[in-house]
Structures are given as C-alpha cells and as structure tokens.
Subunit: 404 residues, 2 copies
Amino acid sequence: MLSDAIKDEGVMRRVLKRGVHDIIVESEFVERLQGGRPLRLKMGFDPSATDIHMGHAVGLRKLRQLQDLGHKVVLIVGDWTAQIGDPSGRSATRPMLTAEQVRENAATYMAQFFKIVDRDRTETRWQSEWFGEFSLTDVIGLTSRFTVAQFLARDDFANRFKANQPIAITELLYPLLQAYDSVAIESDVEFGGTDQMFNLLVGRDLQGMVGQTPQQCFLMPLLPGTDGVQKMSKSLGNYIGIDEPPDEIYGKTMSLPDNQILPYSEYLTDIADDEISEMRAELAAGSVNPMELKKRLARELVAQFHDADAATNAERNFERTVQGGQMPDDIPEFALPAPDALAGMRLSRLLVDAGLASSAGEARRLISQGAVQIDGERVSEDSAAGIEVGAVLRAGRRRYVRLV
Amino acid sequence: MLSDAIKDEGVMRRVLKRGVHDIIVESEFVERLQGGRPLRLKMGFDPSATDIHMGHAVGLRKLRQLQDLGHKVVLIVGDWTAQIGDPSGRSATRPMLTAEQVRENAATYMAQFFKIVDRDRTETRWQSEWFGEFSLTDVIGLTSRFTVAQFLARDDFANRFKANQPIAITELLYPLLQAYDSVAIESDVEFGGTDQMFNLLVGRDLQGMVGQTPQQCFLMPLLPGTDGVQKMSKSLGNYIGIDEPPDEIYGKTMSLPDNQILPYSEYLTDIADDEISEMRAELAAGSVNPMELKKRLARELVAQFHDADAATNAERNFERTVQGGQMPDDIPEFALPAPDALAGMRLSRLLVDAGLASSAGEARRLISQGAVQIDGERVSEDSAAGIEVGAVLRAGRRRYVRLV
C-alpha cells in the first residue's frame, strides 16, 4: 500500500504541497517514503493549551493523510516542556504549570486530537518517560552541543534580547528538550508551524550528532484567525475551536474576511484542487458572491467536526437569525435572579452569568457597541433592573438566552 | 575565643584587609563574626587543575586565618562543575574531564590543600552528594531564576559573545551549580578571586531566593605570575607551585620583577605590617637593594611550604649557582642512552627525557636562546650525538643533570 500510493502523482502533490509551507529536506522525505517502511511522524503538543483550533487542525489533517498512507503518528505529550512554556513566538516569560494542570489539560487535548487523527495508528508517549529520569549529566551532555549565540539568533529570542526583555535561562532548555524528544522516539518526520522551524531544526541537528538519521521537518503554514490578520490563537480570541458547537463554527467561519476563504478551504477541507482553482478564478473575476463560497466553507467545516446534518442545521440557523433577523429554533434558558437582586445588578454581570459574554469587560464592550438586545430592543445602560421573566436576551449576532 | 579575637583591632585588620580585595558586604560580615557562631567558610575548587600555586595560596591562607579564629572551612570538590569547566575569565569553551580524571586530580589537590588549611577544622563535601540526584525539575527550578541577559552581562561572556566566540549553553549552568553549592552547604562566606565575583554573587542571590541568609563574598586579589603581568596560572607557565622543590620556589621567586616584592610579601607571608611599610619606604627611597628583599621573600616562601633548613639550603644553592656561576651541591643523575642510539637523537628529546624541559618545544626554545650548556659550553645544535658519560647538562639557570 505504501509503495502504491506514492506512485500516484495526485496523492503525492496533495500530501507534499497542499497546506504545507515547506519540507526540510523534501527530496530526503520523498526518499524515505519510497523506502516503504512506515514512518514515525512526531507531533508534540504543549498541554498548557487545552483546546485544538482550526490553526492546529492544518497540521493534524496532514498527519491523518499520512496515516491513511500507512504511516504512524507518535504523539508526544509535552508534560515537561509545558512546565517551562514554549518561548517560540512569545514576547514574555510565562508562568509554569503544575503537574496536575498538565495532566488535566492533556486529557482534554487528546479527546479533541483523536477527532482528526486516527487513534489506532498513533503511539502516545509522555516526555516524563525519558525526562523523569534525566540526570544532570544528561542535561550537561545536551547543553554542551549548542551555543548561546545559536539560540539567541532565533527571531523571538533576538528581539526580546535586544529589547531588554527577560529571557529565563530555562527557556534555552525548551528547544533542547523538544529536540531530545526526537532522539527518544527516533522520529522520522516532525510537524510544526513555521514558527517552530528553529526547534524542529535543533531536533534534526541533535539526531545527527547522536548518530540517528536526521528527521525531516514539515513546516505548516500559520493560519490567520477570524480577524484575518493575526495567527489564530486562543489568547487573541480569534480562534475557531474544533470542539465548538455547530452554530459557533458556522458563525465564526462566516465572520472571516473574504481573503481567507481560499486558504481556509485549501488547508482545512478536502474540496478538490480543481474546485479551489475555480473558486480562485471566480473570486478574481467577481463572478461569484464571496458569501456563497464562505457558506460552502462553513458547511464543510461543521460537517467535518460534527456531521452533515449539523452543517445543514447550522446553515439554516445562520440564515434565519443573522441573515433573516429572526430568532433561532431553540434558545437556551437562563434562570433570572429575583427582582430585588436584579434591581442592583449590572447587565454586564447578567450577561456573563448567562454565558453570553466571557468576561465583564467583553459584556461592557458589547453593550457600548449596541450589540445587546432585550426582546429586539437595543440596551445602552449597564443595568439589569426591570428585566422580566420571558424576555429574550441577545448578545452579538448569534448568542441568545430566554430568561425563565 | 571567637568573641575575644574580634575585639583585637590588629587581628581584625589583618583578617579583613590584608590580602583581601573586597568583602561583599563587609558590615554584614563583621556582624556575623560578632554573632559568635562558628561560620561556614565555603571554598570550592575545580579538580580539573591539580596543582595549588601561590595564586591560590592567597585565599587558602585567609581561610587558615579564619580557622585559627574558630571558624570552619567547607571544602567543596567541584566534581560536577569540573565536568563543565569554569568559563570565568576564559576565552574559549574547554573540553570536559572524565569522572576518573576528576577523582585523581581531587586527591592530588587535597594533599596540597591541607598544607595550608587545617584539616581538623575542615568539612569536605563532594558536589555529587547533591548533583548526583539532581533532576530535570531541579535544573528547571534553578535556571528559571536567572535570565540570559544577566549572565551575558558578565565581562568574559560579554566579550566572547561580542567577538562571536562560541559559549556553550552548558557554560551558563556553571555559575548556577556553583551557586547551588552555597545553598546545599548553607554557606556563610564564600571565597574566590576577583574574577569569581559574578559567580559568588549568584550564590548570594540564590540563597536569598530560597530563604537562606545570603552569604558574604570574600574577593581575593589576583596574584600576578612570575612575569609580573598576567594572572598566575599553570597554563601560562608563570606559576610557583606550593609543592615544588625548595630550589624551584626559591629560584622562581628570585625571577619576579621587583614591583611584585610588596604584593607577594603582603599576600603570602606573615611579615608584619610595620615591616612591609618599612620595605615600601626603602624601595621608594632606593635605600635598599631589591634583591635583598626578594631573597627575604624567597626564604619566607620556602620556609612556609617546606621548612627553615630548606630555605637556608635553597638560598645557598641559588647564591652558588645562579649568582656565583658554580654548580649546585647535588646534581641529579641521568642514564645516558648508548652511543649508537644517541647518534641519531635530538638534544631536545634528551632534555625532555632527562626532565630538564617539560616539552620538546620548550627544549628547542632553550637551545635557540643559548640557555643549554654541556660542561659549561653553550650548545646551539639540536643534536645529542657525541655527548659522553660524565658530562653535566644544564638548561636555564637552575636545572642540571649529570649523565651517567
């Protein structure tokens, strides 16, 4: 099966090009594929982040494609590196997690991971298997192979160093530990975003130094978030989680700027290459309403992370509520506090309690933007006084509760 | 006894000032002395160097003075840091030692150490007691407390970094491990040369961070070597080892430039302060031949590291041979190879074999400088052909063998 698939030019183009920023070194990777041995595909994750979003899905879908060609994913739970915190692309030293937090987060993460990646072709390893017994001698052996200058040349370190922002010495250990993971599991290929290139190359170098065949590095493009500008990330609030309800995935996708329709379609769906070329031509010619292509994308994503029915329902809901201005079919209920409690209560507090805003700050912002309605009437005061049972509270375009 | 001594102003001046570059923080140190508790005086050594020379003796004599006041030396065998190599004041990453080399070197070192320091008031600790069990968690805990910039600000690191010379990441661990030693033994005072200030202060900081009373730092002046310019060090060949034979200590001391007479006398002998002031005045006024003061210094040093008779003999030998041009009383013998072996042999090789030069390079240099004589005749060819049994071979001013 391995050897058949790599003779199919279409399959190879899809696997090696689509949603791939770069492969270091592509010719070596093709050679390994031709070797016919199932490859060990290293994918590390940092359990300080619990949620998988579409940005991660780009790489996980690539893993799945390679699994479908017969290769094996080695999922590394970064329970040690998470205690340090990956400095890649960050501008500040971050607080460490407890071991307990790491374990909880890892469980949440994996539940989502296996929605994309095939569990049966995955070997899960914890860094503690090798770092639990790591001695000072091991640390010395590892740190002696690289210089401070090599590491400070990395963009984010260089910028922080120049700006006199603190870089804990610990942070230099991060890429070394990640690199050692490659040695520990004898990785053939490691996957990461383009901002992980440095770390992936350290792994490649270290394997060569200890006599292993250096791994190939699959660099995935960084997916912009729903703002269309910044890298998708939970902390920036511009993410679409793969575990979100159908209406959220659909609605957030519809909020994308038009210039993201093609990259999202290419990186996150199985829409055929020919069709994507067609979409590109239509968009360039102005012969299609981008909204229609975006709805197609939104359906594809809901269908992929939920199912086809959910996609149909989400689209209907979106058309009724956001496009048609009507209320959705089923509105969640929220128990309104007693009138005397309500009298002195801020509306922002009620919005948070009812799950319509993630923080009092966001709630106040929504109120001041005129994005909060009670029974279809805009509210401008941050007060909950006088709200009655039976009213429908709405925040933004898609969030409703019925007060009971 | 502790409290009595610190009331003696002369004793205190001698302990706190003579041969001390700086104490950080002196007022805190005086307070600790006044506390009356025997202090734990940390002295770490790097067993990558086997020989104690006069440069080290400055600090070891200070330890002994404090032992004589009732305090305790904690000698730390740097069997872990030696595997890294102290980057302080060095301009290049250096090779690591094996554990076996470290053990052998430590034994040689300690035999010399206890010629100065009182063994009965010394507690010897090996870093492996705490670093043998050091985990990656410990390393992370340690490295997270300091930043890369703090460490790269250290002069030698800064210079190497600017000059694009490699600094292994391991070298950043060195000051951290040395600092952790202070925590492990609950050091009250650490001793080191002025080039160790950074490392000593990291120890002081770390103790404060983990809730210990921060140690005081005794910074000892760096003793120039026999060239009078560079810091005394074995690798520069400008050292006087405390374990060298009386004639060597005497002769090397006599080779010092005159401007080193006072610092050597002050840092390395018990010549009274008043006498040293007198010597200073005489030298300034030109009312004394510096040679006489140097002979006094040379006698003091031989007497200290051997005994008074050895000092008398060394002086007599020096006067006969170097000053009087005669041969010393007892010349070591060396078995001359057979004439046919000798015919094709280089003289430089013979000089090394006979112990008159430490390397073929040094031997060739001595020959080209005209510093090699056979029976009083200068030799300029690097050939051993024709040398006969009974001849006296001389290299430099003080080294002889009789060929038998």
